[in-house]
C-alpha cells in the first residue's frame, strides 16, 4: 500500500481528523505511558498529517498505549490521538506476521489470578 493510502486508511479507521489538531500537547501532557513511548502522542497526529505511517507502524508506542482514553477525554480539539494510534496498530496487526502476541508465548505469561478479560483484551489489541 502506498504511503498516501496508508495515511488515508488511518484517517478512515480512526474516524478522526488530524487537521483539527492545534498542537497544544495536552495529549502528551496527559498520557500515562509517555515515558515508554518513542513517538509521543502529540506526534501521532503530525505523523499522520505527514503521511509517515511507516515510522508509526514500527514504533514502540503502538504497543504502549493503554487505551485509557485520557487523551481522548482532554483533547480540546476532538482529535482523539488514542484512536489514531489504534488505527495504526490495526494496520499492523492486520498484515501477515503483524501480531504482537502469539499463542505460544501465552502459557508463560499466565498466573493463578489472571482474569480472562486480560487475555481477551490483549488478544483484541495485539492480534488479528
Amino acid at each position: 500500500m502506498s504511503t498516501q493510502n496508508k495515511a488515508k486508511l488511518v484517517r478512515e479507521i480512526s474516524g478522526t481528523n488530524p487537521s483539527k489538531c492545534m498542537k497544544c500537547g495536552k495529549c502528551s501532557a496527559t498520557c500515562p505511558s509517555f515515558d515508554e513511548m518513542d513517538i509521543k502522542p502529540h506526534q501521532f497526529v503530525s505523523y499522520v498529517q505527514k503521511g509517515d505511517i511507516e515510522a508509526l507502524a514500527n514504533s514502540k508506542s503502538l504497543w504502549k498505549c493503554l487505551s485509557c482514553f485520557a487523551c481522548v477525554e482532554r483533547c480540546p480539539r476532538d482529535v482523539q490521538p488514542g484512536r489514531i494510534i489504534d488505527a495504526a496498530r490495526q494496520i499492523v496487526v492486520r498484515q501477515r506476521g503483524g501480531n504482537y502476541l502469539t499463542a505460544d508465548e501465552i502459557p508463560a505469561l499466565l498466573d493463578e489470578e489472571l482474569p480472562q478479560q486480560l487475555l481477551v483484551s490483549a488478544y483484541r489489541r495485539y492480534k488479528r
Binding site: S33, K64, L66, C68, R83, Y100, S121
Partner: protein
C-alpha cells in the same frame, strides 16, 4: 424491578464473588438481575476502528436481547460496561455501523440502540437512590476509610459513558458514604491501572498501580474498592499495596448478605 444482566466472562471464572455479592445485594435492595441467555464475551476492549463490525456483534446481540426482553441492561465489570455502552452508542448514533451490524445480524427487528445500558452502580444511584441504600444498610462500615478506584473505563470518554464527571467523579464516594464508611478522595482514582499492558509489560502496570496506592494511602485510605477484575488484578500486583475489594463485597457486607451470597 427486573433488569437484564450481562455478567461477562471474568465473572464466570476468576471474579465469581463480584457477581455473587452483586446478585445477593440486588435482592436485598429489591431488584433482580436476570442473566441473558447465551451471552457471549464482549471482547474486553471496545474495538475503536470505524471499520470493525464483527467484533462488535457479541455486544449487539446482548443489547438486542435486552431490548426484546423490554428491560434495561445491567453490567458489573467496568470493561464489559464500557464495551456495551459504546457499542450501543454506535448503534444509536452511527448510521454506518448500525447498518452494517444489522446486515450481519439479521435480527427480526433491526437493532438501533434502543436499550439503556446501566452499570450496577448507576442502578443504585439513579434507580434505588443512596438515601434508600442507606436505609437498607444493617452493618454500617463505620470508621473504615475507603478509597474509591474508578479507573478509566467507567468514566471515559465522558460524552459517551456519561457515568459521572470524568475528572472528579463522586458516585463511589457517595456509595461509600451510604454504606456508613468514610470515603477518601485522592486524585489518582481515575488514573489508569495499566489495563491489558500488564500481560506483556507487567512492570509498567506495576509502576502505575504503585503510584495509585501511594496516592490513596497518602490521603489516608485503608483499602480500595473497584468494579473491575482487571483493575483489581493489576492493583494487587503492586508492592506495598492496600487491600483491594470489589465494591459489591462491601455492599453485601453492609447489607448483611455477605455470608449468604457465597453459599
Amino acid at each position: 424491578m427486573n433488569f437484564s444482566y450481562y455478567p461477562g466472562c471474568t465473572l464466570r471464572n476468576k471474579a465469581k464473588e463480584l457477581d455473587a455479592y452483586a446478585r445477593a445485594s440486588a435482592e436485598a435492595l429489591g431488584f433482580a438481575l436476570q442473566e441473558l441467555t447465551d451471552w457471549q464475551c464482549c471482547g474486553g476492549v471496545y474495538p475503536l476502528g470505524t471499520d470493525e463490525i464483527a467484533t462488535k456483534l457479541a455486544s449487539v446481540r446482548a443489547l438486542a436481547q435486552a431490548r426484546d426482553n423490554g428491560q434495561d441492561l445491567v453490567t458489573l465489570c467496568s470493561a464489559c460496561h464500557h464495551v456495551l455502552k459504546r457499542v450501543n452508542d454506535d448503534m444509536r448514533n452511527n448510521a454506518d455501523i448500525r447498518t452494517r451490524a444489522n446486515n450481519y445480524m439479521m435480527l427480526d427487528t433491526p437493532y438501533a440502540g434502543e436499550t439503556k445500558v446501566l452499570h450496577f452502580l448507576e442502578v443504585i444511584r439513579d434507580v434505588i437512590g443512596f438515601e434508600e441504600l442507606k436505609k437498607k444498610v444493617v452493618n454500617p462500615l463505620t470508621g473504615r476509610k475507603i478509597g474509591a478506584y474508578y479507573g478509566c473505563l467507567l468514566l471515559r470518554p465522558g460524552k459517551v459513558m456519561a457515568f459521572d464527571d470524568p475528572e472528579n467523579p463522586k458516585l463511589l464516594e457517595d456509595f461509600i458514604r451510604a454504606l456508613g464508611a468514610e470515603p477518601v478522595v485522592y486524585p489518582y482514582r481515575n488514573e489508569c491501572c495499566g489495563g491489558y499492558i500488564s500481560l506483556k509489560e507487567p512492570q509498567m502496570a506495576e509502576n502505575m498501580c504503585s503510584n495509585i496506592h501511594k496516592n490513596a494511602a497518602g490521603f489516608g485510605a485503608e483499602c480500595l474498592i473497584t468494579a473491575c477484575p482487571l483493575c483489581r488484578y493489576n492493583l494487587n500486583k503492586a508492592e506495598n499495596n492496600l487491600p483491594v475489594y470489589y465494591f459489591t463485597e462491601l455492599l453485601a457486607e453492609a447489607l448483611g448478605v455477605k455470608e449468604a451470597a457465597l453459599k
